[in-house]
């Protein structure tokens, strides 16, 4: 056994409790990690990636147990060690970076207090040393105002900075191993680059080994030396990064690689004199005294998809709220088939409300957990169309058929008995139930795995061609834009910076902001991040947001 093996997991099996039964989550996976090596763990949600990562710390979540196998860290089996022994390692030798820094920083304490906690409690440094060290690490990770940022509370710091502060916190005891659990999944593409660069720097500078968990192949290609693909808690394939990307051997891996193949058929441009279904005319809006939208105008025509892209905070969702009347605009108007809609939904009649429906990002929270699927879909059928009894039942059955779900199998289930993709389909059926002309899709695929997301996109595309629906598709994912959009509206700081047909948008020259967005989308090439950062350094591509 060579000495540079840091972590060796053998035939590890982890069970999770469902009701009274223990069901396997991880079914005998082997893992080996050398000092200073970065391992990428990829797979869809539910594949057991996070469970594996946590198990490397000798930790299982409540309701889970290690059923067998060994986790040797520096030669000691954590599966057989005492709780106290594992606790001494955690934070000190093995650190963890969570998916959502906003949720994983304690809202009640300042960043620097949370940074210093582990080194002080583990006896690595005293408080003064830890505070000085924090500033040093913040500077290395290129956080703005490194001397001062630690004294802020988590809610006072932006998402990307918070994620870097969490990476800094993980470095605080100079651990031998860091588990990165989807650290950039919740971030915008432009912020993601900064965090990826910071993580790579940190790992390089201290020679830390890392397990990098993600479902985004392009991201893992930038970070990892070798890649393991997991599915249903079993290892599918393992190889070094370049081999894995160029020559995957397993069918499942190949399907993951090929997932972005879907592209909607090109549609004829609308007649120049056609009335758009929805038309925003110079719309401005504000939350209280804070203006968020500044004179936004765009049109959406029948049977076409307008993708609205931009980072979080750019006003995409606010524009949707204005259209639905949830946030009455302060200026401008919204036309529906050429007629102005009342600004507030309270003043709209039932038919005007029926015409514009919405599908939400988080199907989990958008469906009432106490209602059966049939009731969820029946409600708009009854409310908008006034159908009852047999007519209502037939309509719901037809809707379920439309979204490719068996009415008899799924009708009586509760939302929590469905998978993420199925829940999102129910969200679509509920929107369709009102028989609208126009649907707002707010980040509908961003919470889903790529294979499932593709299924949703195909479904939306089919429904559009069958029913002639107009979509406003809000997203920050340019790959989704490529596959489904007819027209693109790019938003930044509450303004439209560029708009036009998709083909034109993806062809230079771009507005600098569009350029930044486009160049920030990770590519499957392992050298992409290195090349991009170098090019930005040389000033060949845009590296900063243009001012507001």
């Amino acid at each position: 056994m060579s000495d540079d093996i840091l972590l060796r997991m053998r035939n590890i099996r982890i069970d999770g409790k469902t009701g009274d039964d223990w069901l396997p989550i991880i079914q005998g996976v082997d893992l080996e990690l050398k000092r200073g090596e970065v391992l990428g763990l990829i797979g869809e949600s539910g594949a057991g990636k996070s469970t594996m990562g946590l198990a490397a710390m000798g930790y299982v979540r409540d309701g889970c147990r290690i059923a067998g196998g060994s986790i040797e860290f520096e030669g000691t089996d954590l599966a057989k060690s005492s709780v106290a022994y594992c606790r001494k390692l955690r934070g000190k030798k093995i650190a963890y970076v969570a998916q959502s820094a906003a949720a994983s920083f304690n809202p009640a304490h300042r960043l620097i207090d949370q940074y210093s906690e582990a080194p002080v409690i583990h006896g690595v440094m005293n408080r003064t040393e830890a505070d000085t060290d924090a500033t040093d690490i913040y500077r290395r990770l290129q956080l703005p105002n490194p001397d001062e940022i630690g004294f802020r509370y988590p809610h006072q710091v932006s998402g990307g900075q918070l994620q870097r502060a969490m990476t800094a916190m993980a470095m605080s005891c100079r651990p031998d191993l860091i588990i990165f659990d989807e650290p950039t999944t919740a971030l915008d593409v432009t912020t993601q680059i900064e965090v990826l660069a910071a993580i790579r720097d940190a790992v390089d500078q201290f020679g830390t080994a890392a397990i990098y968990i993600t479902h985004d192949l392009a991201v893992v290609a930038q970070m990892a030396d070798k890649i393991m693909v997991l599915r249903y808690g079993e290892l599918v394939e393992e190889a070094d990064t370049r081999t894995m990307l160029s020559a995957p051997t397993q069918a499942y891996t190949k399907s993951l690689w090929a997932v972005r193949s879907f592209k909607s058929a090109a549609k004829a441009a609308p007649a120049p004199d056609a009335t758009p279904v929805v038309s925003l005319r110079n719309v401005s809006a504000s939350y209280g005294p804070v203006p968020v939208l500044h004179g936004v105008s765009f049109d959406i025509h029948k049977g076409r998809t307008v993708a609205v892209v931009g980072e979080s905070g750019s006003g995409k969702s606010t524009a949707a709220r204005c259209i639905t009347g949830l946030l009455p605009p302060t200026e401008g108007e919204i036309l529906f088939n050429g007629k102005a809609l009342p600004p507030s939904f309270k003043k709209r009649n039932k038919d005007q409300l029926r015409q514009a429906q919405m599908i939400y990002q988080m199907a989990d929270t958008a469906l009432n957990p106490k209602q059966r699927i049939r009731d969820i879909i029946s409600r708009p059928v009854e409310f908008y169309l006034g159908l009852t009894g047999k007519a209502k039942k037939d309509r719901v059955d037809a809707l379920l058929d439309m979204i490719e779900m068996e009415p008899d199998v799924f009708g009586h289930r509760y939302p929590q008995e469905l998978s993420g993709g199925q829940k999102q389909r129910i969200g679509i059926a509920r929107a369709l139930a009102a028989e609208p002309e126009f649907i707002i899709c707010d980040e509908v695929t961003s919470a889903l795995d790529q294979l499932v997301a593709e299924g949703i996109l195909r479904l939306l595309d089919r429904l559009q061609s069958e029913l002639g629906l107009a979509y406003m598709f809000i997203t920050h994912d340019l790959a989704t834009v490529r596959s489904i959009a007819d027209e693109v509206v790019v938003m930044q700081h509450g303004k439209v910076v560029e708009q036009g047909p998709k083909a034109e948008m993806f062809r230079p020259p771009h507005h600098p902001y569009t350029d930044l967005l486009l160049s920030s989308v990770p590519e499957m090439d392992p050298d992409w991040l290195t090349d991009l950062l170098a090019a930005r350094e040389r000033g060949e591509v845009v590296s900063e947001l243009p001012p507001a």
Partner: protein
């Protein structure tokens, strides 16, 4: 101006408005009480003429609206008027009684609040264990019995002396707590290296066993405050001349009764608020930083659970002050509650009004303080972006 300060001022103004509304409600409610003070004082045999003359003398013949405003005007200047029955100044009558009530409430709060919060934290730490269940069952039992019942049980056990019949079961219970508690801790938490918890359980057990033995020997309970072997007094008749030690001794049983009544709420809210947060990602993060379970609860969960805990504490403190009527009557404690009960029976409406208003002020003030504290402990509001 700091947002907290402006918020506090706004709440204070709202509190005053609430108070004004309450004063109207109190006045109208008292007005609607059946019976008549003049009739009550003069007796059944009084002639209608005498009653009418007496009513005029007391000012009861004036229209209610006029009486309300003259009463309110007086209250704003600190003048509650005179007791209709005893002719004494009400402010003088109330001040001593109010101080007594505050003393009793403070006494009970000093025992109950730390006890409830610590028990709540421990129940959260050792959730779903034997300890958790025991604390829950015990506090819920004490809150389920009416106050006077708890009071009489305590008098029976601690004032009359420990009855032989109960000595044996209590002693056995103590032994069982000691053994079981130690076993449960060891098994569930692998914290047998920390001597604190088994020691606490052993002490409880030993205390109850000593109690049992002393019961068998016929020795009455030893009173640690007066350093003499005798039971706690069942009559809490303190007077302005009583020394602090004497007051603490005499008010012990009422304070203990109140403690048992209010602990359950606060303890359960603390437990629930903490457990509610234990699934948060930042709690998992703290665990993954290698923090001990106790530190996770105190340092990471508690600061985020303060708002609901503070609110339920304030509610219970308000109850300690305004809800003591029954306990004061049982122990003959000269507090505001007893004064109010006496005044109601005597139809002494001005005193009843004054007592109600004092209670209302306490209630509003405590809730105001709770609101401000709940906001002040929230960094999002204290340190805006």
């Amino acid at each position: 101006m700091h947002p907290i300060l402006s918020m506090a001022l706004r709440r204070l103004a709202l509190g005053l408005l609430t108070l004004l509304v309450i004063s109207i409600v109190i006045f109208s409610a008292v007005e609607m009480l059946p019976g008549d003070l003049a009739q009550e004082i003069l007796g059944q045999s009084a002639t209608p003429e005498t009653v009418a003359a007496f009513r005029k003398e007391l000012g009861l013949d004036k229209p209610p609206v006029e009486r309300y405003f003259s009463w309110l005007g007086g209250v704003f200047q600190g003048d509650f008027g005179k007791s209709l029955a005893s002719k004494r100044e009400i402010s003088e009558l109330i001040s001593g009684r109010f101080a007594n009530t505050m003393f009793l409430a403070g006494y009970a709060a000093v025992i109950a609040v730390p006890l409830a919060v610590v028990l709540g934290l421990m129940a959260a730490l050792f959730r779903n264990t034997w300890f958790d269940r025991f604390v829950n069952v015990f506090t819920l039992s004490t809150i389920s019995f009416p106050e006077f019942f708890v009071a009489y049980i305590l008098i029976l056990l601690l004032a009359v002396g420990f009855p032989f019949g109960l000595a044996l079961p209590f002693g056995l219970l103590g032994l069982w707590i000691a053994v079981e508690g130690y076993g449960a801790m060891k098994e569930n938490f692998k914290i047998n290296k920390s001597p604190l918890i088994p020691v606490v359980f052993l002490l409880i057990g030993i205390g109850l066993i000593i109690n049992m033995v002393m019961g068998f020997m016929g020795v009455e309970n030893w009173n640690p405050i007066t350093k003499e072997v005798r039971a706690f007094p069942s009559i809490a008749n303190i007077s302005p001349e009583s020394s602090l030690a004497d007051r603490l001794d005499r008010a012990f049983l009422p304070a203990l009764t109140l403690t048992m009544v209010v602990t359950a709420h606060m303890m359960r809210m603390t437990r629930a608020a903490i457990i509610n947060l234990l699934a948060s990602p930042y709690i998992e993060m703290a665990r993954l930083k290698g923090m001990s379970p106790w530190r996770v609860i105190i340092k990471h969960a508690l600061p985020n659970a303060l708002a609901p805990i503070i609110n339920v504490i304030a509610l219970n403190l308000a109850y300690l002050i305004t809800g003591v009527v029954v306990v004061e009557v049982v122990f003959a404690y000269p507090g505001l509650g007893q004064l109010m009960v006496d005044s109601v029976t005597k139809r002494d409406i001005t005193v009843v009004q004054a007592c109600c208003l004092v209670f209302a002020v306490t209630y509003i003030l405590l809730n105001l303080i709770a609101d401000i504290l709940a906001i002040a402990t929230n960094p999002r509001l204290l340190h805006p972006k």
